[in-house]
């Protein structure tokens, strides 16, 4: 079978699973639902492997044109799928980790009365994500982009009888829509510059632009082309801040923890949040031209990483800690992309998918064992009873903390080296050195809060001596072990180097030639500083949390003299409250005000009924009579018509 003509099967198979389980799932036995739900993603995974192998002989990429989707005037948006090295890596991630998560979900969710609905949503999520990475144009990407947004809305609000879950889902959708607003503006801007939305066409058209010239036609006529491109780049990045949870739109992601745990893993690790990184990688031909925009992206990314790292320290819900850590790690990925060494960001996407999926699913196992308790202060000492889960969770934590030789160490290191390289390049903006400092500090924070999480959950005295832990289903353990193996070994086995060579030809080359000597220095500086902060972070974490007395002292401090500082972090720096007070509420008030005053009083009572009254006393009729008013209106209309006709005939 020629894989190029079968690409459509990759997103279609999970979609079929969605339709079958969505329509008939209630009538089918649970094992069959699970088989249907897992088969689609698994075959999609096998096909993705084939596609990846086929790239060896088709370095230009695979492409399957299907039909014309939206075509009118000069616009032609085809419905076509493509796989190049970048998409192939995303495919491995999405289908590979995705299949594992489906399998785990059987263990985690099979007792839920709405199990088939859950599996159907997961399938739809996967189908949408596959459209996102395989679409051959910006608009098909947007189909997947909004599709995953819809699925996260449905999955976060899965247990819909509790308004808290539903509202978290709605928040996710709406915040993402704000990002999509920016995305659309960016797409329109690019379209008016290039006249197409297809990747290849856009790349060629952008390459053909004279960057020193002015725009000569379209809505931005007279604007320097460089400025127009910057608007497009910033708007597309704005879209990415929604989907990939960066400042200012990251606020939906921690709330998304309301969903069942496999959702967290799917949203965070394998799929949705990496969409923004993918977008940057896909549009690399645009971003390499825009160093100023790249600087903005890097700065936003570093601030996001630092802010969410600080918040993560003060969270007590196991899933919230992991959620903020995800936001923080996404910041690292964006910073990596912004250096122009795109493979570093992609590398971290891949390793993060391994270890964060492991951590979320491990947290799920802990939560199941603890009978749906999520507060780490109420855990403690789980090591004794849950040896298997503990070991696997700790492997994930070591990878997240960036301890060598676990996978996270390699990818984080690559990003830090790339950022340092930028900072130390001759003529670099000093901003880059600040970014480097922030990221190194955040790497230390990461090690610290990860240590805190592990110590509080698995070590120390159990919060309740008499607890009876729930058994963890074997499918869940199998998936955890698989992910742990990847998290532990991916870096050592040279995934990073392989990724670099495999994707090398898809990236637009950097504007300046790479200085190899500086590259080596950057590598050593990054490794040295990150190892140092990681050791410090873990050391501080162990020192503070391992000993009972020091932990109590810390508790007293957070409630006493440190309450203000600690409160800022534990209340997430009041960002949600700020948005509520200055954006959400005012819009609600505006709506009510406009309705109550403008619509009902000014327009309706004032202008409409007022003018009716002044013309012929209709207003009274409006209030009191029935048919009379209609005939009055008709009569006066006819009288008016006749008068005017006469006038026209006489004077026309």
């Amino acid at each position: 079978m020629e894989i190029e003509s079968s690409l459509y099967l990759i997103p279609l198979l999970p979609l079929v699973g969605f339709l079958v389980n969505g329509l008939l799932g209630n009538q089918l036995p649970k094992w069959l639902v699970a088989v249907i739900a897992c088969t689609g993603p698994f075959i999609a995974f096998l096909l993705s492997v084939q596609a990846l192998q086929a790239l060896a002989t088709h370095p230009e990429g695979l492409h399957q044109a299907m039909f014309s989707w939206i075509s009118t005037g000069t616009l032609n948006v085809p419905f076509g799928l493509q796989v190049d090295a970048l998409t192939a890596i995303m495919l491995m991630n999405v289908t590979g980790i995705g299949t594992a998560i489906h399998l785990y979900s059987y263990g985690y969710m099979h007792a839920d009365p709405s199990f088939s609905r859950f599996m159907a949503y997961l399938n739809l999520f996967l189908a949408a994500m596959l459209m996102l990475v395989m679409g051959d144009n910006l608009l098909l990407l947007f189909v997947g982009w909004e599709g995953v947004g819809l699925c996260s809305y449905l999955l976060i609000g899965f247990w819909y009888q509790d308004f808290a879950n539903v509202d978290a889902g709605r928040k996710a959708f709406i915040v993402n829509r704000i990002g999509d607003f920016a995305f659309l503006i960016g797409a329109f801007t690019l379209y008016s510059l290039t006249g197409t939305l297809e990747w290849h066409g856009m790349e060629q058209a952008v390459a053909a632009l004279d960057l020193n010239a002015m725009v000569v036609s379209g809505p931005m006529t007279g604007m320097p082309i460089m400025v127009a491109l910057m608007i497009a780049g910033l708007c597309l990045f704005g879209g990415a801040t929604g989907k990939s949870a960066q400042i200012p739109l990251y606020v939906w992601l921690p709330d998304a923890m309301a969903g069942p745990t496999p959702v967290s893993a799917l949203i965070h690790a394998a799929t949705m949040v990496t969409a923004g990184i993918y977008l940057l990688g896909r549009m690399d031909f645009l971003f390499v031209l825009l160093p100023a925009v790249m600087g903005v992206i890097a700065l936003v990314a570093a601030c996001t990483a630092l802010l969410s790292g600080l918040i993560a320290i003060a969270q007590n819900d196991i899933k919230k800690v992991l959620a903020y850590s995800t936001v923080s790690q996404l910041g690292f990925m964006f910073a990596g992309m912004a250096t122009g060494f795109f493979h570093t960001g992609l590398f971290h996407v891949v390793t993060h998918a391994f270890f964060k999926a492991l951590l979320f699913l491990g947290a799920g196992a802990v939560i199941v064992a603890m009978h749906h308790e999520q507060d780490i202060r109420k855990m403690g000492g789980l090591w004794k009873d849950l040896k298997g889960v503990s070991i696997l969770f700790i492997i994930g934590s070591l990878a997240l903390a960036g301890v060598p030789p676990f996978a996270g160490f390699y990818s984080k290191d690559a990003i830090l080296a790339a950022v340092y390289y930028q900072a130390a390049s001759p003529g670099a903006s000093p901003e880059w050195m600040v970014i480097f400092g922030m990221l190194v500090f955040t790497a230390g924070l990461t090690a610290f809060y990860t240590t805190r999480l592990v110590v509080l959950t698995f070590f120390g005295k159990p919060a309740d001596e008499h607890r009876h832990l729930h058994e963890v289903h074997w499918t869940m353990m199998a998936v955890l072990a698989f992910l742990a193996a990847l998290s532990a070994l991916a870096g050592v086995l040279g995934l990073g180097t392989w990724l670099d060579t495999f994707t090398h030809h898809v990236w637009s080359p950097p504007a300046v030639e790479v200085n190899e000597a500086l590259e080596h220095t950057a590598h050593y500086v990054a490794m040295g500083s990150s190892t140092a902060v990681v050791v410090l972070g873990i050391g501080a974490g162990l020192f503070l949390y391992l000993s009972e007395s020091r932990r109590e002292a810390l508790d007293r401090w957070t409630k006493g003299s440190g309450a203000r500082v600690y409160g800022m972090a534990s209340h997430k720096f009041f960002v949600d409250e700020f948005y509520e007070a200055f954006i959400v509420n005012p819009i609600g008030w505006l709506a009510k005000l406009l309705w109550g005053v403008v619509d009902r009083i000014v327009i309706d009572s004032g202008i409409v009924e007022g003018s009716a009254l002044s013309v012929s006393g209709f207003s009274a009729a409006l209030r009191h009579t029935q048919v009379g008013a209609v005939s009055a209106a008709t009569t006066s209309t006819l009288v008016g018509v006749i008068v005017v006709v006469l006038w026209l005939v006489l004077h026309g």
Binding site: S68, G73, V166, L184, A629, L648
Partner: protein, 498 residues
């Protein structure tokens, strides 16, 4: 087959069916309903056959029938359609049987008069879209008003009389102005023939007069759309109208305003249209955001959907006046898509209103558990309404915004905010009605019946189909829309005074 009088047949079928209904004894409910349904289904089948025979060259009118009606005044009974009119007629013949079927059990009072009104309404609507003589158009336009006013005024809710009168007065005020403008055109061109007028008027009417005439036509159509700030009749009409009335009103009647701009106001007075473009775009963009904000402030499901129509029709106006093929095509696609999704939304509200006789957002809760099939259909239509890519609403909205951005980027950006707000009010409505703990009051509500499913499934299927494959619809309207866009670009100020 191009000579076969499809259009006369299509207007005659519901009219004759309606007349035959008068012969059925008042007490014979079943026969009345059955006959009405069969009539509308026959009209639907005929319209489908007509579609298969529809092979125009470019934007020419097909299925033209031309007979002299009043010789002295040069009034003709002239019919003929292009792709836009065909799309609108198909929407009409699809929604009419659905409207009849959804009223099956809910109309107790004088069912004969009710179904008679629906059939006459259908005849009038097809006539409006099929007419190619301005006087004939005006006759249908006014005729259609009567059954609609009756549907609201007799079979409506508690404030039905107020709503019906407001509806009539508003429309009358607009039609009066339009009628004067029509007479003026006739006096100068000596004909009511739409094609002849399209050729004559742009060349021979001075700019100043064009402005007045465009204003008269435009105001009449703007009220019908309705454009901000002429929209306040709409929420009242929708809230009071019976379900079938709301479905037809939202599905077809509102589009007569935008259709009027495409068919008459712009081609007749292109120079004035161009001169008025900034203000129309501004009102359209304001309407999108304003309508969305209004929807956010509502607590009644029907009112919320009614205000959302103000926003959605704002997109149509924006696209039509963008002066680009993409935008105008998006506007026309949005006309059809709004007919499908908002028609379906009113049907869906009707389903729950038939069972409970209330429709406040806060009165429900947890219906997703009680009525899962209903909840699923409602979700799909909600997503279609907020323009989720892959469903129909997105195609129109995207084309409108993309097209408008090419010529008026600020209006486009402002309007795009409506995309965010749309998600807010629709998902908020869904949250209140379907999510949360089950309300014990409604825990025995039955899920959708087979009859209700039959009314809803075609619309849901179309929402998916037109989202994935909008090609056939876009091709159908491509040439006539191109003509309208061209007339907006080929303007020149006429200096002559007649």
């Amino acid at each position: 087959m191009a000579d076969f009088p499809f259009l006369s047949l299509l207007t005659a079928i519901p009219a004759i069916g309606g007349l035959l209904l008068t012969l059925v004894p008042r007490s014979d409910d079943k026969v009345i309903k059955g006959a009405a349904l069969v009539t509308s289904l026959v009209a639907f089948v005929v319209s489908i056959v007509m579609w298969t025979r529809f092979q125009p060259v470019g934007a020419e009118l097909v299925f033209v029938e031309d007979h002299v009606w009043v010789d002295q005044l040069n009034i003709h009974y002239k019919l003929g359609i292009d792709g836009i009119a065909l799309a609108m007629i198909l929407l009409t013949t699809l929604l009419s049987p659905i409207a009849i079927l959804c009223s099956w059990n809910s109309v107790v009072k004088q069912p004969k008069g009710f179904f008679l009104s629906l059939l006459f309404l259908e005849a009038g609507m097809i006539g409006v879209f099929g007419a190619s003589d301005l006087f004939l158009f005006y006759v249908y336009w006014e005729l259609m008003l009567i059954p609609m006013a009756l549907l609201i005024g007799i079979w409506g809710g508690p404030r039905r009389e107020y709503a019906a009168i407001k509806f009539v007065l508003y429309t009358m005020a607009g039609s009066l102005l339009m009628f004067l403008a029509i007479l003026y055109c006739w006096l100068h061109a000596g004909t009511f023939d739409v094609q002849a007028l399209q050729a004559f008027l742009p060349q021979n009417i001075p700019f100043q007069v064009q402005m007045w005439l465009f204003g008269a036509f435009g105001l009449s159509f703007a009220i019908k759309v309705p454009m901000f700030p002429f929209h306040t009749w709409l929420p009242d009409a929708h809230v009071e109208a019976p379900t079938a009335g709301s479905v037809i009103l939202a599905g077809v009647l509102l589009k007569m305003g935008t259709y009027g701009f495409l068919r008459f106001a712009i081609p007749f007075f292109p120079t004035a249209a161009v001169a008025c473009t900034p203000i129309i775009l501004m009102l359209a963009a304001i309407g999108i955001v304003y309508g969305s904000l209004m929807s956010m402030a509502q607590t009644d499901m029907k009112k919320l959907i009614a205000y959302s129509s103000v926003a959605h029709l704002g997109f149509v106006m924006l696209g039509i006046f963008s002066g680009t093929q993409e935008g105008a095509q998006g506007g026309v696609a949005q006309m059809i898509n709004h007919g499908i999704s908002t028609g379906a939304l009113f049907l869906l509200v009707g389903v729950i209103y038939d069972r409970t006789h209330i429709r406040g957002l806060a009165d429900f809760g947890g219906l997703a558990k009680t009525m899962p099939i209903y909840a699923t259909l409602f979700m799909i239509i909600t997503l279609s309404s907020i323009g989720l890519p892959g469903l129909n609403g997105f195609v129109g909205e995207f084309l409108v915004l993309l097209g408008t951005f090419q010529t008026h980027p600020i209006a486009s950006i402002f309007a795009a905010m409506g995309v965010v707000l749309g998600a807010v009010y629709m998902l908020t409505m869904y949250r209140h009605v379907f999510f949360g703990p089950e309300n014990p009051r409604w825990k025995d509500l039955p899920d959708v019946s087979p009859r209700e499913l039959v009314t809803l499934l075609p619309l849901v299927a179309l929402a998916v189909l037109l989202g994935v494959m909008p090609g056939p619809l876009l091709r159908m309207t491509e040439a006539p829309v191109a003509n309208v866009v061209k007339s907006l670009h080929a303007v020149k100020v006429v200096e002559v005074t007649p």
